[in-house]
């Protein structure tokens, strides 16, 4: 059933094509374009990474250096006169030692990463170098770990100090609150006392007024008795006046107590507000990095060695950062080594080796020519005759020539004038002598080409841009081809490979 359906579907699609050939071509072109774009982008990305990497290495090394100095200065005695950078002599010495150790570690790493030298001495040197390198890497990791872990520990400590401060502020606020409540109660009591005293004053005055009225009625027409009754100093009115005075002094005392209690309450209220402000700020600060770091330690599962204490997590993270810094320097060491060798000693090495090869080749040609037999002379002939102007075009070893000529071991006969053995030998000797004389120049051009600093290998370019004679240009071309850096392209042009 399914098979039938599939078959029918297939038949239908054959009958009406979904994709026209034009559409297919368009799609193919588009795919091709995007493929090219991807490749270009990849290549550009790689170039960017290679370009920026030395900067990253320098930054990583500088950081390593600062961390090591940090640690090493901390190891030194703090006593002594400050000489520079706020450091005393022993601290300066330690800082210098740290810089030297980190720098030599980096340099050694780079030098050893791309060291092609061979032999017992070189091997022994490499073994010693590796031992030294392990020590220096260990030093670098140790100091970076200690510094980073120390910094984290400080952050954690600050976090717990803040927590402590917040708790303390909270306690202060609680105490002040209780005291405020007491002060409020005292003020309330004082106010009640004041009211009572004020009431007593009013009652005493009213009693005096009633006494005066009653006396006026009782002793009407008897002024002496009235006078005695109304006398507040020594007469009948004295107890009333005393009561008023007592009540009034009680009012003053109560008013004083109210004021005092209110002052205390106000002070306590301010105290509570201050403590709450402190608490609020400290409580916010306690949600800090330190607390998070400390908490993260507890989140590490047991199968990963957890849970870790705050100090352990600080140390672990410090180690991780140090190891990553080290990895960065190690990973870039190979590339940096090649770069360094090229810039520092690569040129002269490459140049000397090329010069040696040119001279050896010339010497071999001269030796061959001196053997008097035309056959070896022809065999060791440096240059074959490609140019129709009679000048030598390019040096060839048979296999390379066979490759470039599409399998033919000799150049096409049509290009070559008839061979005269004696003339051939004379020219071979001339070429060899010229090559030996110009060995330095030839080696320089070969080295440039190897380093990508030679734009072209054509005779006009070598002649015009580098001031070579035609003969020198031919010799250089010969050497370039010999070294596999150039080839003879169709049309008898020498092009860089």
């Amino acid at each position: 059933m399914m098979a039938t359906a599939t078959h029918r579907g297939g038949a239908r699609s054959r009958a009406t094509p979904v994709l026209s050939s034009e559409a297919a071509a368009r799609l193919r072109a588009r795919t091709q374009k995007s493929w090219e774009r991807d490749c270009t982008w990849l290549s550009t990305e790689r170039s960017a990474y290679r370009l920026i990497w030395p900067l990253v290495l320098i930054v990583a090394t500088l950081l390593n250096m600062i961390l090591a100095v940090d640690w090493q200065v901390g190891m030194a005695s703090e006593e002594g006169r400050v000489i520079a950078f706020g450091l005393n002599k022993s601290q300066l010495v330690n800082a210098f030692v740290a810089i030297v150790l980190i720098l030599s570690g980096r340099v050694l790493l780079i030098l050893m990463a791309d060291d092609p030298s061979r032999g017992v001495k070189a091997s022994l040197g490499r073994v010693l170098g590796r031992i030294l390198l392990v020590g220096l890497i260990g030093y670098s990791i140790w100091t970076a770990t200690a510094s980073v872990a120390g910094d984290l520990q400080e952050t954690i400590d600050r976090g717990s100090a803040k927590t402590e401060a917040a708790l303390s502020a909270s306690r202060v606020a609680g105490t002040a609150g209780a005291m405020l409540s007491d002060a409020n109660t005292a003020a309330q009591r004082a106010r009640v006392d004041l009211e009572t005293a004020q009431g007593q004053v009013v009652a005493a005055r009213r009693a005096l007024v009633q006494h005066v009225e009653r006396s006026r009625q009782d002793y009407a027409g008897d002024p002496a008795s009235i006078g005695w009754a109304l006398n507040e100093r020594a007469g009948l009115a004295k107890p009333y006046a005393d009561r008023i005075k007592a009540a009034e002094s009680e009012v003053i005392a109560a008013r004083g107590r109210v004021t005092a209690a209110e002052q205390v309450a106000n002070g306590m209220r301010q105290g509570v507000m201050d403590a709450e402000t402190v608490y609020a700020s400290k409580a916010q600060e306690t949600g800090s990095k330190g607390k998070v770091i400390a908490t993260m330690g507890t989140a590490i599962p047991s199968w990963l060695g957890g849970p870790l204490t705050a100090s352990q997590i600080a140390l672990a993270w410090g180690y991780a950062v140090a190891a990553m810094l080290e990895l960065v320097c190690y990973a870039g060491a190979g590339a940096s080594g090649r770069l360094l060798r090229e810039t520092m000693n690569g040129y002269s090495e490459t140049h000397d080796a090329a010069k040696e090869r040119v001279e050896d080749k010339a010497q071999a040609a001269l030796d061959g020519a001196g053997a008097a037999s035309p056959a070896p002379a022809a065999k060791s002939r440096l240059y074959s005759r490609f140019d129709d102007d009679g000048e030598d075009a390019g040096p060839v070893d048979p296999s390379r020539r066979a490759m470039l000529m599409g399998g033919a071991s000799q150049p096409p006969l049509g290009d070559v004038p008839p061979v005269d053995p004696e003339r051939e030998e004379r020219e071979a000797v001339g070429d060899a002598v010229a090559a030996r004389q110009n060995a330095d120049l030839i080696a320089g051009m070969v080295t440039d080409a190897r380093n990508g600093n030679l734009e072209k290998a054509s005779t006009p370019y070598l002649r015009d841009a580098h001031g070579l004679t035609n003969r020198q240009a031919k010799l250089v071309q010969a050497a370039l081809i010999e070294e596999g850096l150039a080839m003879v392209a169709p049309g008898n042009r020498t092009v860089l490979t």
Binding site: C39, E45, R46, Y49, L67, V148, L327, V328, A331
Partner: protein, 40 residues
């Protein structure tokens, strides 16, 4: 260049770019964490 050759051509470049991406990530994390300690 046919497709196979093109793939063979781009493969090492692609591998290198991935290695660079990895090491740059590590470098970023390391420097990001070490810099505040060193400069702070």
């Amino acid at each position: 260049m046919n497709e196979d050759e093109a793939r063979a051509f781009i493969r090492p470049i692609r591998r290198e770019v991935w290695q660079w991406r990895l090491i740059y990530t590590v470098a970023l994390v390391a420097i990001w964490n070490a810099a505040p300690v060193a400069l702070g």
